[in-house]
Assembly symmetry: C2
Homo-oligomer: 210 residues x 2
């Protein structure tokens, strides 16, 4: 095993540190966030810091780094209260990554991803996405240690491919071909090991057949 | 596409809702958190809500659900200020899942995972883990919308398998055989698609050779 200390790591250059610390928590979800400004101009941005916050009420969290130069997404969420979350599949993950360039125009036009509007919701969805949802701004918190902003969104409507929803409510991410990211720029698909039974003392966990 | 509304989803039973909303954000990291109480009694717990917060200073975030019955981990972090994060590989993910049962004894003894202490750090590490780190409590925030607690930890020392650290600081999670979870109980390994170049306007992203 390599042993790295905080002091040693902070002496490494900035790209090394960013690569390294972004990889420590493991595989991360990666989503495209769709927003529009008050004039209706669309924006699409890639986020790897989106996570489940609660099921009742249904909530997601997103972290916004304070040093992000482009904060159109955050401005639009504050100005309008709306955003969409769109899971990314392997057939368009390169276009999704490309949205993170500093585009002047809408990232939809720039990358060729198709925007779509569903059931009158203000913010744009990604047509190619196989699982997407509309969200409203609920709350924000600032992490004092580094001024990162936690945005909590309430989930409203969810759209997903028919076969991906199982009778027990679980979602087949392998069927959706959902992509996950490690570090800053490394993309993967998931290969299922198993679902496991609810854990109880003195009873080995077993695989659940779907 | 299936269209599910918030109103419709909230009428589903509790297990359905939990399965469903836990799957919406995509693949999640999954880690074992090691703690000890003030008497030195070890605890090990499974968490899928651990995420990168920042690289300088190096910070991780963990969400603690308010309705979690067993909060030994949180109590121990508050009482001592210390915890460890341990990535999970496919060769021990079933034991890792089993730690979530309501054990009376230490989850190490109960599941057969081996505890280890490194360089005098107070909280136990998981011997089997191929990437693990020591952390200190830095800050907490309460999400008002559902009383979820966000614990921010500062990363101190990191231990990882030699070959997994690349010269640019990125970590090869495939080599570590790191596991990811979807929903509540479904485990996967990652299969790499590619690393992609830094995104720039008018220049297609390309795959990086490692």
């Amino acid at each position: 095993m390599i042993h790295l200390t905080k002091e040693g790591l902070l002496k490494e250059d900035n790209p090394f540190r960013r690569n390294f610390f972004n990889g420590l928590s493991g595989f991360k979800s990666v989503n495209l966030i769709g927003t529009a400004d008050v004039s209706g101009r669309s924006n699409l941005a890639l986020f790897s810091q989106v996570f489940h916050v609660g099921a009742n009420p249904p909530l997601v969290g997103i972290l916004f780094r304070p040093d992000t130069v482009i904060r159109h997404t955050l401005d639009n969420i504050f100005d309008t209260g709306f955003f969409t979350l769109n899971q990314i599949s392997s057939n368009f993950y390169k276009k999704a990554h490309w949205t993170s360039a500093r585009w002047e125009a809408s990232e939809f036009e720039a990358t060729g991803l198709k925007e779509e509007f569903l059931n009158g919701f203000f913010a744009p969805f990604v047509h190619e996405s196989k699982l997407k949802m509309s969200c409203r701004l609920v709350e924000t918190q600032t992490i004092k240690a580094n001024q990162t902003l936690l945005v909590v969104g309430g989930i409203e409507d969810v759209y997903l491919e028919d076969e991906s929803l199982r009778p027990d409510g679980s979602i087949d991410l392998n069927l959706l071909d959902t992509v996950t990211v490690s570090g800053l720029d490394e993309y993967h698909v998931g290969v299922k090991l198993a679902r496991l039974t609810y854990a109880r003392p003195n009873q080995q966990v077993e695989e659940i057949e779907d």
